[in-house]
Amino acid sequence: MYSDKELIERCLENDPKAQELLYKRFSGRMYGVCLRFARNTLEADDILQEGFIKVFSFLKDFRHDGSLEGWIRRTIVNTAINYYNSKQNEWSETSIKMAESYQSVSEEILDKISTNDLLNLIHELPEGYRLVFNLYIIEGYNHKEIAEMLNISENTSKSQLSRARTALQQRLIQRK
């Protein structure tokens, strides 16, 4: 069992076995990230593939400042963002009040729903909503940070999140 550091060193020597080991070590978690950002599994496959090619191509630039997993995750998230940025999303602002009813979604519904079902609901969200929803709620970035990452205004980020919450709530209620 190689440590992350040993694995990186061997990958930098273009050792195919080490590359496969690194892929297997992190691909599951990263595929989970891709599935959340993607609209369907085909897109998730594309993002994962492109993301890991970037990981191996730029592994020499990893500076060991943080964990390898964090760095790979960041690369995959960036790949996903670029994937959808290239589609020229139209970001629109909306009233933040729209999301107020989100609180009415009880914990019960969320507790009962499986991860795969929740994932399917997230897949149904429009791209802009889904990106902001993933970055804010699951990845933990704030609106200022999301605004910088997506090159949008903070208000746009807030409105997208608000819409995402509303849309998710509606779907949860329908499912109930």
Partner: protein, 445 residues
């Protein structure tokens, strides 16, 4: 409401905390094949560069040879065909009168195995030139001054007969190396050599050779230059950069041609960002990891062993800051050029390849976005530069003679990369073009 949001967000986050679905096997196959393709194929410049260098060198050496040797004989041939040659002052034919000794002398100069010029004495006066009339003879041979004549093979019979007049006699013979140097009949000056357009090979055998050689030797000089440049990359994501070069370039000149090489240090800077994922520092507490109890006269006294535990926010934060990365290149150019002198000025143009080696890369460490924050990951968004790149350099400018050995040089420069300067994602080629002004001082040895 915000608390409710946070709680629901927390539930959703937990749902995905251990979410690790198995990706399709095909993805790894695609990644692996993508990795095999990703190293860019050997750049065509890897093949083109040596060819350019070799061809440039061959052209330069060929031009030099032509200039030093073939050009002389060619111009001599043209002169000889055009008219009779009148030489008033030269080592061999510098006597005032044509005498038997002159003939003997000429016989000594030439051996007997090949043809020699047919001399027609048109005048015997002290101040008049000796006229050499050209006779059509094949093949042509060269006389002592590199002149090409055509003689008549029928005239060979008279070659060793001093009584036969020169205008009716042809001589055959070969140049006797070193013989002319023994003649004390005057010296050939550099001006004469130029005037009569003598070949370097023949002039080398004459007593005026030293002076001639002094004017025709390879001249060495060394230049110290400073060169600010603006560089533009074909990739829109990379901003224009400004670089500064300091160069020490020795130069060797052969008449109007020159070769320049040496070392340059180029300093440049890239703008970029670093994105930091971090956790906020919330505070600290003392964690008790061991307790001992000591019995004393006053009762049991507990001793607590603690260490400080720092507490961080579990939510990731993201910060983008600007940064500048500094790079130093060592460059070795090989430039070939042509120079034209007039007065104190000389105009020149030069071109050639240059190899650039990235020797120092200085990317500042990312600063803490917040006091005591825990950095999870730093993502540098700075263009990646290749360690070695090839460039083609072009320049044209002028030198101005400041003093006997010093001259000032100013030239606009242009360069373009043959092997990309930037390694861009997805195998894109980060080729650059640069414009600059090079200024400096030359010292002529």
């Amino acid at each position: 409401m915000a608390e409710n949001f946070n709680h629901i967000d927390q539930i959703i986050r937990q749902k995905f905390e251990n979410f690790e679905p198995e990706p399709p096997a095909q993805v790894w196959e695609n990644v692996r094949s993508g990795l095999k393709k990703s190293p860019p194929p050997p750049s065509s410049s890897g093949f083109v560069m040596p060819v350019i260098v070799v061809v440039s060198l061959l052209l330069f050496i060929g031009g030099l040879m032509h200039h030093l040797y073939l050009n002389d004989s060619g111009s001599n041939l043209r002169t000889a065909r055009a008219s009779a040659l009148s030489i008033q002052k030269a080592s061999v034919f510098s006597t005032d009168y044509t005498t038997t000794s002159d003939i003997t002398l000429q016989q000594e100069v030439y051996q007997t195995s090949s043809e020699v010029p047919v001399a027609s004495i048109s005048s015997t006066g002290p101040d008049q030139a000796i006229q050499l009339d050209q006779q059509p003879v094949i093949p042509p041979v060269r006389d002592a001054f590199g002149q090409t004549y055509q003689g008549d093979r029928k005239q060979k019979k008279a070659k060793n007969n001093p009584s036969v007049p020169l205008n009716s006699t042809s001589r055959t013979g070969q140049w006797k190396p070193g013989l002319v140097q023994t003649l004390a009949a005057g010296e050939l000056s550099y001006a004469d050599a130029v005037k009569y357009d003598l070949s370097a090979r023949d002039v080398r055998k004459l007593s005026g050779f030293q002076e001639y050689a002094r004017h025709n030797r390879a001249d060495w000089s060394i230049g110290f230059y400073f060169n600010p440049e603006v560089t533009r990359c074909n990739d829109q994501s990379i901003e224009n950069t400004v670089s500064y070069s300091a160069s020490i370039l020795p130069q060797v000149s052969f008449n109007r041609f020159f070769i320049q090489s040496g070392l340059s240090m180029r300093f440049t800077q890239d703008k970029g960002n670093y994105a930091i994922d971090y956790n906020r520092y919330l505070g600290s507490y003392e964690d008790v990891y061991n307790v001992t109890f000591d019995s004393t006269e006053n009762g049991v006294i507990p001793t607590y062993y603690t260490h400080t535990v720092e507490v961080y926010d579990t939510v990731n934060h993201y910060s983008i800051s600007e940064t500048k990365a500094n790079y130093t290149y060592l460059e070795i150019p090989l430039l070939m050029g042509y120079r034209y002198n007039f007065g104190k000025f000389s105009l020149f143009a030069k071109a050639g390849p240059a190899a650039s080696f990235l020797v120092i890369k200085n990317i500042p460490d990312a600063g803490y976005p917040e006091d005591k924050a825990r950095i999870i990951n730093v993502d540098y968004q700075i263009p990646v530069r290749s360690v070695v790149n090839w460039q083609m350099m072009l320049g044209a400018g002028f030198d101005y003679q400041l003093a006997d050995k010093f001259s000032f040089s100013l030239e606009p420069t242009f360069r373009f990369t043959l092997k990309p300067e930037f390694d861009l994602p997805d195998g894109a080629r980060g080729n650059t073009t640069s414009f600059g002004i090079r200024a400096g001082l030359n010292y002529n040895f």
